[in-house]
């Protein structure tokens, strides 16, 4: 859509996406300077979760391939940053992060090429096995990768220019969100470009896409690489916020949680990725608060957040199959429908 009511947006894709990104960036900046360090850490978590979910939602929603293994790509990125931080600490953190994008992309290309022949649940099975099997590599090569305990390193704090008392969590939140907004603009542009159209063509009808001259396998691998690169970046940022990369941070439930977040938010939609990442991070937090406030025993309070999370997923899928973004779009259409409908009966063409 080219306009929010009352606001004229530039018609160039890049400019429009930049405006949205800057707007979101300003909001994030305002929030991070007014909350405490712990919430800043949560905001950082939402930031890198958003990157991972954005990549996944593009893969699943726009190119029609399912991946239950993006947590494993996050692990690749995290270990890249950790290894760089341990062995080459003088390299600045942004170079490390770019490297985590690259390693994610490379592994994504390998997995994507292997998976290009697979469809539906078979692809789900293969990516699930990848998610389950990759953490075991850390054990196998424990001398280099640190085994069960992982690798601890010093990610460095805020640059000296920010002053000595600048809270480290706020710096991490800024780093995560700056990366997130860059990712957002890049992905939004890609989706509007020929690459994005190829994705959707392959998703909607592979045979028709082939007849139209699109190389289906190559398109699918590109989508895989893109989502794995995003996950790699997210993993690298995770390593920065935790100052460590360990197999325990990347269980299967992470991959499944990313998928759940993508669908909750609205599959294929970048705004949906934002709602999904907020939900994934904050539903457990709020439900933990509820559980602690109630006077039930520890068994209940420990497990109540998970129970609520499960119920949220089920209810959301039964009631809002198009996710939060789908719900918002329906609301938007409903609100734009004015009582005096046009004489020719046409409905507004905006989604």
């Amino acid at each position: 859509m080219t306009g929010v009511r009352g606001l004229r947006m530039p018609s160039s894709t890049l400019l429009r996406n930049l405006v949205v990104a800057v707007g979101v960036g300003i909001i994030v900046w305002l929030v991070t300077i007014s909350v405490d360090a712990f919430t800043d850490l949560r905001i950082a978590t939402v930031g890198y979760t958003f990157i991972a979910i954005a990549g996944l939602t593009v893969l699943v929603g726009q190119s029609g391939q399912i991946s239950l293994g993006n947590g494993a790509f996050m692990m690749v990125g995290a270990y890249t940053v950790a290894l760089m931080g341990l062995h080459l600490p003088s390299v600045p953190i942004w170079v490390d992060l770019i490297l985590s994008v690259a390693t994610g992309a490379v592994i994504g290309a390998l997995v994507g090429a292997a998976a290009a022949r697979l469809r539906g649940p078979y692809l789900a099975g293969a990516t699930l096995a990848f998610a389950v099997g990759l953490p075991a590599v850390a054990d196998k090569y424990s001398s280099v990768l640190g085994g069960e305990n992982g690798l601890t390193f010093n990610s460095g704090g805020p640059p000296a220019a920010f002053g000595a008392n600048f809270p480290v969590e706020r710096w991490q939140a800024w780093l995560c969100w700056l990366s997130g907004l860059i990712t957002l603009v890049l992905l939004a542009n890609i989706l509007r470009s020929k690459v994005g159209r190829n994705f959707r063509a392959v998703r909607d009808d592979e045979v028709a896409a082939t007849l139209a001259g699109i190389n289906v396998a190559r398109t699918q691998v590109v989508a895989f690489v893109l989502s794995a690169a995003c996950a790699g970046l997210a993993g690298g940022l995770l390593a920065v916020t935790l100052d460590e990369a360990a197999p325990g941070s990347f269980p299967v439930s992470l991959s499944l949680g990313l998928l759940a977040g993508a669908i909750l938010g609205g599959l294929g939609s970048l705004a949906g990725a934002l709602w999904g990442s907020l939900a994934i991070v904050f539903v457990p937090v709020w439900s933990t608060d509820i559980a602690n406030a109630s006077s039930a025993g520890t068994n209940v309070s420990n497990n109540l957040p998970l129970a609520i999370y499960g119920v949220v997923l089920i209810v959301a899928m039964l009631a809002f199959p198009l996710g939060i973004q789908g719900g918002i779009r329906r609301l938007y259409v409903y609100m734009r429908r004015t009582p005096a409908a046009p004489a020719d009966g046409s409905v507004s063409s905006h989604p």
Partner: protein, 291 residues
């Protein structure tokens, strides 16, 4: 040589349990085209019911029967209440519903029984048989496991191939709208399919759980069962059994000769190799795509 025999027998036993989970996933996939990620959770909660009875002093067999019956009921209820609404939607919604159910069930199990592992008995001794002078890694309980799963698979095959009900269920799975037009009560067939699948899953849970039960005890089983189902071909019950057996054997050899840490990696490699050669699994049917 002794070790090889032990690993083989161990692999067969484990493989049968994976085959049971795979069989239940295949049954559900054939009927409703949904991958039931909650299968591990459903098996878990029915095993916990058995645990609740056994820990109060009742006989193991009572717990066994109750768990299977609970599985039947649970499968039917889940299909009717949770899956029916999302059947018409993109398949990925059903994936999330089953995932949500899995998380919910494990959380409820944790709330009621806590996360500490509880000991869960077996009906038969787990001491290995003696063949000649050697003791092998195969006990009465393992024999029971193998026979129970094979027996269940045979009974299901008999049901599907030899009865009218089975015919109707197969028709529903194969071509739902035509079956409906021919008078098959499609909804009931789907519910029954889920109920039977959950029954098989409960059996797998009872066989896999000993010696300890905890909310996350069956997570690995779900992954291996799913892998076995995919290797065998999601359309094929025979593939589920063969896939389970193959996976169990292969993982047992890997674990025995190379060590247990890389078992999951080995499963991944096996899966990738099988799928590269046959993208629809060993026994899966390639669906022709129409232009």
């Amino acid at each position: 040589m002794q070790r090889f025999v032990d690993f083989t027998l161990n692999g067969v036993t484990n493989g049968m349990v994976y085959a049971a989970v795979a069989l239940s996933l295949v049954l559900i996939w054939r009927g409703t085209r949904v991958v039931n990620f909650a299968q591990g959770g459903m098996a878990l909660i029915t095993t916990y019911f058995a645990y609740a009875l056994v820990s109060r002093g009742h006989s193991y067999w009572l717990g066994f029967v109750v768990a299977l019956a609970a599985g039947l009921v649970l499968g039917a209820v889940v299909e009717r209440v949770l899956i029916r609404p999302v059947e018409a939607k993109p398949p990925i919604n059903a994936v999330i519903v089953t995932l949500g159910l899995l998380i919910f069930i494990e959380a409820v199990a944790g709330m009621i029984w806590g996360v500490t592992p509880r000991s869960f008995p077996t009906a038969f001794s787990i001491i290995g048989y003696h063949i000649g002078h050697q003791q092998v890694l195969f006990s009465r309980f393992d024999l029971f496991t193998v026979l129970a799963v094979l027996g269940t698979a045979a009974l299901l095959a008999l049901l599907f191939r030899g009865t009218n009900l089975g015919l109707r269920m197969r028709a529903t799975a194969f071509e739902r709208e035509v079956a409906r037009m021919l008078g098959v009560r499609v909804g009931r067939m789907l519910t029954l399919g889920w109920a039977l699948a959950a029954l098989v899953g409960s059996l797998a849970g009872l066989l896999a759980t000993p010696p300890f039960i905890s909310p996350n005890a069956l997570d690995g089983l779900l992954v291996f069962g799913f892998t076995a189902a995919v290797i065998g071909g999601l359309d094929s019950p025979l593939g589920a059994v063969v896939g389970g057996l193959l996976l169990g054997l292969a993982l047992s050899y890997v674990s025995g000769y190379q060590g247990p840490n890389i078992v999951t990696l080995a499963a991944l490699v096996i899966l990738v190799v099988v799928l590269m050669v046959r993208p629809n699994g060993l026994f899966g049917q390639t669906r022709t795509r129409r232009v």
